[in-house]
């Protein structure tokens, strides 16, 4: 969900675009990060821990903690909280440490 009316802030959103998350189309606005757009779409689980496979969500949202790493356009370990969304981008949940091709 996005905030429409705010008593102090006025949000200038970019162009509406769409990207793919685990095969599903998700609406987003240019200028948002992948994690922010996924959060607005109600996605909370961004990955699983390596050994115990516990669910992982965002923690810091500023690129400090690595809790939000996903596969973006085939590249693993992308911190989605600091990576902007782009039209047509393909985002997937990452299993394991990720393989660089």
């Amino acid at each position: 969900m996005r905030i429409e009316n705010h008593p102090v802030l006025d949000f200038k959103r970019g162009k509406q675009i769409s990207f793919i998350f685990n095969g599903k189309a998700i609406d987003a606005f240019e200028g948002e990060t992948i994690q922010a757009a996924l959060h607005a779409a109600g996605v909370r689980v961004l990955g699983h821990s390596l050994t115990l496979h516990r669910p992982r969500g965002f923690y810091c949202a500023i690129g400090n903690c690595s809790s939000c790493m996903m596969v973006v356009d085939g590249v693993p370990n992308v911190r989605t909280c600091v990576t902007p969304v782009r039209e047509g981008m393909v985002v997937e949940l990452q299993e394991g440490k990720g393989i660089i091709e």
Binding site: V8, H39, V45, R56, G57, C60, A61, I62
Partner: protein, 362 residues
Amino acid sequence: MITCELLVIGAGPAGLCSAITAAKSGASVVVLERSPDIGGQLIKQTHMFFGSKEQHASTRGVDIAEILREEIARYDIKLMLDTTALGIYEDGMVTALYKEEEYMKFKPGAIIVATGACERFLAFPNNDLPGVCGAGAVQTLMNVYGIMPAKDVVMLGAGNIGLIVSYQLMQAGVNVKCILDAAPKIGGYLVHASKVARMGVPIKTSHTVKRAIGEDHLTAVEIVALDDKFNQIPGTEEIIPADTLCVSVGLTPLCELLAMAGCKLSYIPQLGGMVPLKTGEYETSVPNIFVAGDTSGVEEASAAMVEGHIAGLCAAKRLGHIPEDFDAQYSSLNRQLMALRSGPAGEHIRQGLASACLNKEA
């Protein structure tokens, strides 16, 4: 390789002010900022700042960032956004990464590290569940991107950040269930505490989180009362349904770059953890590496700005740019800092800074 006179790392209030003052003195400055925009913590702050007039008190944090943006544009300052400083090496070389793609090398005459601080974490069962996150993270979502961060929040920590973020959450339409603090007294300013209390949010002192509850995502928080020795009191547990638990238990300086450069660090709890030792000119134990702002001790934006001006003034002096009124500027800035840190609220900062003082001759 890019050679430059002064390299500033971090474009929060401290880094921006240091760049402005150094450039005013005649130095040419390059500023590296890992985010897509300048302002650091300021861009998330929608409330009127405390502090004094010289540091734009009573102005909203977001607006202070705009004032600094206009000032930056007037001087010989090259801003490099989306650029993360990765390391400072023995030979004074700095490496950086632009947009996760392009590596860069800098050879500056002097460096000011103003990387700010990051949020602390707390140990409790299930603290890794999605839905448990930093107070700064929900601020980024709601105040920078305009996204509803949560429905029902439990806030852990009744310091200024916990109180202010609770208020901002309510402004965005989020339900704040309660604010917990392990200490028997509210840590933040009374004005902020009464603002949220008036809106009906209970502030539970001597309380903490016993565990987070949920399968894939947080659904509830179990809280518990603490006795005067911070032991949990059995039988006082309470389960509060919530989709988000915001952890706001203080900040700790981001000084990895300084550690790598070999600057002497020391653990000073009053300043938030490991901090660099520094001289009265804000120079670390490594010559030509200066510091300013939360990196050298977690404090406030007002102090971060004044420290930035001092570090900028002194780094420019080291590079041979000494304004005629150097002494007057230097003592005026120090007087401002003294005023900001006066009184009982500044007590712990004064104590901490006394232990962080580096005497070069010794």
